[in-house]
């Protein structure tokens, strides 16, 4: 009897284990270039050309005004001098410099085509809008900060100094209404034409044309074309992207692996339900057997 129930159990668990084990082996399709292109079609984004940027930081000022963000003063208390993106600073121009080359780089949310923050958020507070912007919903958010843990670019920020903190990030000027008018504060403010706003498809074409027309001026790579499944904000640069602080990412988003595993195991909840009934059956028999043994004194 004991052996039989054990066999039953082994059978049940083998089915469960097979599902669990097979999950990671299910080929995770590195988001193919075609799929990314299709997804990009209806979406808008930005193209930042680091070789054109003059580092005037007009974009930072425009962003703070449009989104009503407070100043982060320098030590003397005169300038707005944020050192990094923060809950008060949604976009920032940084400088890379060594003996031979230098380059500015503007950082803000990349508005990924396949965002990890949206995939991870347990309560649908991070949303990928149909127009491509990744936005945050205050009513839905629990403040678990899983979006911060997941984001490969460390973009979402949390107001740690507030008792009722919010998650803060660039929303491509969705909330302030500029996006609806067809622009963003930073791209509008740029005097050097370094930030272009538009449909992602068109922006990619422009980026490729620039590289072709000016060989030697640009890196071969357009950052964000495929990185982490593609990003809505793409970058052209003269210096290599790792020097500008961009991580080396695969051509698919980590969300694909995570969701691939998740949806294999919990495919329509079939496996968990089957396992539950298997478990209930074995437990029922074992408990009844234990009762019987107790009633029959040895």
């Amino acid at each position: 009897m004991k052996n039989e129930s054990r066999r039953q159990f082994v059978k049940t668990m083998a089915a469960a284990g097979a599902g669990l084990l097979a999950a990671p082996l299910v080929p995770v399709q590195p988001a193919a270039a075609n799929a990314i292109r299709e997804r990009r079609d209806p979406e808008v984004g930005m193209l930042y050309d680091a070789t054109k940027c003059i580092g005037c930081r007009a974009c930072e000022v425009a962003c703070k005004q449009a989104n009503q963000k407070p100043t982060e003063y320098d030590a003397a208390g005169i300038w707005d001098a944020p050192k990094d993106l923060s809950a008060k600073t949604l976009t920032l121009v940084k400088l890379y410099k060594d003996e031979t080359e230098h380059s500015f780089v503007k950082r803000q949310c990349m508005h990924c085509v396949d965002p990890a923050c949206v995939s991870g958020c347990p309560t649908s507070a991070m949303i990928k809008q149909p127009n491509g912007a990744v936005t945050w919903d205050a009513k839905a958010c629990v403040g678990c900060r899983y979006c911060q843990m997941g984001c490969p670019f460390n973009i979402p920020k949390y107001e740690f100094d507030s008792a009722y903190g919010r998650i803060v990030k660039c929303d491509l000027c969705s909330a302030n209404g500029l996006l609806a008018q067809g622009c963003t504060a930073c791209s509008q403010a740029c005097p050097a034409g370094a930030i272009l706003f538009g449909r992602q498809k068109g922006l990619l074409q422009i980026a490729r044309q620039r590289i072709q027309a000016n060989p030697g001026r640009y890196q071969e790579k357009i950052f964000g074309e495929f990185d982490s499944g593609g990003t809505g904000v793409i970058y052209l640069s003269g210096v290599s992207f790792d020097k500008l602080g961009f991580p080396d990412l695969p051509e698919y988003s980590a969300a694909r692996i995570s969701e691939g595993i998740q949806h294999t195991i919990y495919n329509n909840m079939i496996a968990p339900i089957l396992i539950y009934f298997g478990l209930a059956f074995v437990a029922f028999r074992n408990i009844r057997m234990a009762h019987k043994q107790k009633e029959e004194p040895k």
Binding site: L85, P122, Y158, S162, Y164, I287
Partner: protein
Amino acid sequence: MSHVDAKPLGGKIFTKPVILLLIGASVGIYFLTVRYAHGIGAVSNLSDYMPWGIWKVLNVIVGAALVCGGYACAFTVYLFNQGRYHRYVRPALLLSLLGYSFAGFSLFYDVGRYWGLFNFLIPKYWQGNSVLFEVGLCVMTYICVLTLEIAPAIIEKFLKGDGRLAQMLYMLYRLLDRFLFLIISFGILLPTMHQSGLGGLAVVMGQKISPLWQTPLISLHHLISCIAMGYGCVIVTELMISKDYQEKSHMAILSKLAKAMRTFMFVFLVLRLSEVLRTGAILQAFAADLDSLAFWTEMLLIGGGIYMARNADARMVPKNIFLGSCLTMAAGSLYRINVYIIGFHPAPNVSYFPSVPELSISLGMICLQLALFITIIKTFPIVAYERR
């Protein structure tokens, strides 16, 4: 559950250790009020680069794994039909219930927008792609299941007497006993889901976690190690609260549990090593940095736990299996801290060490939990005794 002869340990409640634990708890509670008044930044070293610190990792992720005894016991007793382990079920379930409840409670000070936690229960906010959503829902349900599993022990205390209430309680008791198999099955399925999910959380963090720990198999690693930790927790609890182990027959049963613990830990070790060898991440273990130190410490702890419970003779010595269990629990805990804190590199030169208030809150909550556990086993029939 009704087939165990258990009784309250009795004795004074406010003994010296309990008072010490309560003092620890009150320090934590003081800093909690600061956190609620001035925000998370006022008491912790958390930052935008390291948004998950010890509150989430130690109190929730490690905490839930350490109290897996209820899961491991239910699994052994009701599936492998090993009735002789029955006596461990109740203390293990109680620890699980307390551990999970405190893990749930920890979320209320760890998350920034705690009033929004109830969004987990509102279908319009559900997010099926999120591992954290799955874990959250599973843990909430599991706390309810644990309550039902432990309920007979609490009811037993009020069964004496023949008033109307006692009769109703008796009916409830019989009902619970009758449908125990349905509850137990949930008590096995749900931990399987959320313990693997607690590892699955790491997958979406991708290359931010060192390849020494990051792998698509990370859920499986968490699941296997949590079972070993659960057995370890049961053994340590039993050795600490009961003197029955001095009898050889009891020691023999405990040593069987130690054997199961060793087996799971061994499987965990093999899985871990084969994965770092397969991906080639093992090379990073020789980099002589904090990651490699953490990696080898973890391996040493795993190996130590396995060694202490290596064969039948070694397992018959209470000291050995006590030490082995402690090492196993430490190994599993360090593994989880490695994944989410030490091996987590969001950007170059980012470091995190918890602040004193942050630690006080973490430890204070653990103190409170232990004080409650001691009080409950003194008051309710949880610990089994031998009829002599």
